[in-house]
């Protein structure tokens, strides 16, 4: 599917890697054994350890440097969002929502540029005892907040929404898809028709409509640790996101249902629940993981879009989308304000897309072009 550059080339000679002991032990015949006299002597056969499914997947994944890079970036992002952001706030001595009169230029009322020392004078009590504080990337707009900290805290919101919504949509999708595929009959008809109809919906309009209508009621639910508006977005995106996974799961279950091992399980009297849990679901893990990674990327884009339109995450909570919407106001003086959140979104979605592609190739080597 993707350009596997150097890693692809190094990945192709699978046969050379299996070399001596394995070919011998697998009884490939004397000809093969003689052909590889280089290593161990004849007769000194070493037992081959069987490789489990996950071990094979991991071995294939490990060779994909691009996907590993994506994975590492995601780990780095998590660390900087959930550990780095509070640490940075502590070191700098102010929070992402603190307003500074010095964050805007007093003459022009425009946000200050990158690397500006901002006086904390009017609010000194609120932010520790520093007379000055540093704005690494400048101010965010007329309110004079720290763009750098808002970017970091925006990552929290993005990840919370995208991962929460992905989990929710996968959960509903897997349940609906496996019930429809396994049970068949009228349940299948209903689920299939509903997914078909909803996939023909002008979904973006409905997501916007739902987010703006139920938003007022759900925005204040934070469960103590989530940003304002996160719960709304998770529910709305999850609600509209389960159709695709449901279709995929249903198709998989339909083909698995007729396999011999399911029949055997049924014959020994396993209950439906047990068959689904122990015999069907393990086969669904791979496609679901791959789909999840790509869905997270899409939800991050969607969250930013909704927040840009002002219906996602509400102020004062920082989000990449609302940071992006402030950008165009300062076209003339601070064009960088448009660049930072955009780059943050780009790198994050890129990382999840790369990880998803790499995982797909690792789970199913045939899918790689």
């Amino acid at each position: 599917m993707r350009q596997h550059c150097a890693c692809r080339i190094s990945a192709t000679p699978m046969a050379t890697e299996q070399h001596s002991p394995e070919i011998l032990s697998s009884g490939a015949g004397l000809a093969a054994a003689v052909a590889i006299e280089t290593g161990t002597e004849l007769g000194e056969l070493q037992p081959v350890r069987a490789r489990g499914y996950w071990e094979q997947v991991w071995r294939r994944f490990r060779r994909d440097k691009v996907a590993i890079g994506g994975g590492l970036f995601i780990i780095f992002l998590f660390l900087s969002a959930f550990a780095g952001a509070p640490i940075a706030a502590r070191l700098l001595g102010h929070g992402p929502n603190d307003l500074f009169a010095g964050g805007t230029n007093p003459q022009t009322l425009l946000p200050v540029g990158p690397w500006t020392h901002v006086s904390t004078v009017p609010y000194a009590g609120a932010v520790g005892h520093f007379p000055h504080t540093l704005f690494l990337l400048g101010g965010d707009g007329q309110l004079g907040r720290d763009e750098f900290l808002r970017l970091l805290y925006g990552a929290q919101v993005s990840l919370e929404v995208a991962i929460g919504a992905t989990l929710l949509s996968m959960l509903i999708g897997v349940v609906m898809g496996s019930i429809a595929g396994y049970h068949g009959g009228w349940i299948d008809t209903i689920v299939s028709r509903v997914t078909e109809i909803v996939m023909a919906f002008p979904l973006l309009l409905f997501i916007i409509a739902l987010a703006s209508t139920v938003g007022d009621r759900l925005d204040n639910i934070t469960l103590g640790f989530l940003g304002k508006g996160v719960v709304t977005l998770v529910l709305v995106l999850g609600f509209f996101g389960w159709f695709y996974p449901a279709r995929i799961v249903r198709a998989q279950v339909l083909s698995l249902r007729e396999k011999e091992f399911i029949e055997a399980a049924r014959m020994v009297g396993a209950s439906d629940l047990r068959i689904v849990r122990s015999h069907l679901l393990p086969h669904l893990v791979a496609p679901i993981i791959v789909l999840s990674s790509i869905t997270v990327a899409q939800f991050i884009l969607l969250e930013a879009g909704l927040s840009f339109l002002g219906i996602g995450i509400k102020q004062p909570t920082a989000s990449w989308g609302s940071l992006l919407s402030d950008g165009p106001t300062y076209y003339l003086t601070q064009p960088w304000l448009m660049v930072w959140p955009g780059l943050a979104i780009l790198f994050t979605t890129l990382a999840f897309n790369l990880l998803g592609d790499g995982l797909r190739d690792a789970f199913d080597p045939r899918s790689a072009h």
């Binding site: 599917m1 993707r2 350009q3 550059c5 692809r8 109809i197 023909a200 919906f201 002008p202 979904l203 973006l204 309009l205 409905f206 916007i208 409509a209 739902l210 703006s212 209508t213 139920v214 007022d216 009621r217 990327a297 884009l301 930013a304 879009g305 840009f308 339109l309 219906i311 989308g321 992006l324 950008g327 165009p328 076209y331 064009p335 448009m338 660049v339 959140p341 955009g342 979104i345 780009l346 979605t349 890129l350 897309n353 790369l354 072009h369």
Partner: protein, 321 residues
């Protein structure tokens, strides 16, 4: 054929009812009453009541929905906007050409980009062009359309001054200096490019994968071994088969975009359907939003039909049953 048409019509009707009904139910959830907004800030309770009666929002939502259906089906009338009493027919009628210009122009843009790049990179897998195009794909699907729009507007519109930064000009009706085909295209170049990038990326990827798959088919080998010239094999055996799924996707994407090119329209301040819908939502203007949704659904139904017919025309093995 008759059975096919009957099924199509029933499906269209079900889809239509489902979409509009869900939209009505959604609006019933709105916490603030549109009547309050219409009546104004200083309104008494009696005023609000009168406004609600005037708008019809004092009736239960299924009555409102039935009236909406009745108006629409019998009189082809979408009603009047709550916000400014304009006819929704004319609101949608004014906004639809803007969105249609954006979407169809964008579709031409992205197909012009995606077809050659996708085919060439499939013909030479792992070449420099292939690598470059796959990098483009990754960035195209990862960058936010809003962000691409902002950067384009800043760079090409503001810094280089090649194009206008925002705004829209009518294709016909050159009453002012902003009008006529030239100004229309001039104002739409950036939105087209922005809108096309995401889809171009997706389509390059899909076309490349399809062509690669089709190249390994037995009938391609047969054609080659019969001595068919390479360009003929490519055109009649590979591309004709590889393009089938592309046609389906194109129809679906265009029809979906007609209802919701919200982000591009917002960035470039194009007065299209997406902006109209957002305006309606912000003002609790249910008829306007319903109007946009009706239009979007009709677009989806029509395009599904077109895709089906095209499909049967491209691939004679498919019979419409």
């Amino acid at each position: 054929m008759v059975r096919y048409l009957a099924r199509r019509v029933i499906w269209a009707a079900v889809l239509f009812i489902a979409v509009t009904l869900v939209a009505y139910v959604l609006f019933f959830l709105i916490p603030n009453d549109p009547a309050k907004l219409v009546a104004g800030k200083a309104a008494t309770d009696a005023d609000v009541k009168r406004a609600a009666h005037f708008l019809g929002t004092d009736r239960p939502f299924y009555v409102q929905y039935a009236k909406f259906l009745d108006r629409l089906v019998i009189h082809q009338n979408l009603g009047f906007s709550f916000a400014n009493r304009q006819s929704v027919n004319s609101i949608v009628g004014n906004a639809a050409p803007v969105t249609a210009s954006l979407v169809f122009g964008g579709a031409i843009f992205w197909m012009l980009l995606a077809l050659p790049i996708g085919i060439l990179s499939a013909l030479r897998p792992r070449s420099l062009l292939d690598r470059a195009s796959m990098t483009f794909v990754l960035i195209g699907i990862s960058a936010h359309p809003i962000w691409i729009g902002l950067i384009f507007a800043y760079f090409f519109g503001f810094k280089l001054g090649w194009t206008p930064i925002t705004g829209y000009c009518d294709f016909i009706n050159p009453s002012t200096d902003c009008g006529g085909p030239v100004q229309w295209a001039y104002h739409l170049v950036l939105p087209w490019a922005t809108f096309a990038i995401l889809f171009a990326a997706l389509y390059v990827r899909m076309i490349r994968a399809n062509v690669l798959d089709t190249m390994n088919e037995d009938y391609v080998r047969t054609a080659r071994s019969k001595g068919a010239p390479e360009h003929l094999v490519l055109r009649s055996h590979i591309l004709r088969n590889a393009m089938l799924p592309v046609v389906t996707m194109l129809g679906m994407d265009i029809s979906l975009a007609l209802g919701g090119a919200v982000f591009t329209e917002t960035v470039y301040s194009l007065p299209g359907l997406g902006k109209t819908a957002i305006f309606g939502l912000n003002n609790n203007d249910i008829p306007t939003v319903e109007g946009v949704i009706v239009f979007a659904t009709l677009a989806i139904i029509v395009f599904n039909l077109v895709v089906d017919l095209l499909y049967a025309w491209i691939d004679p093995r498919i019979r419409l049953t």
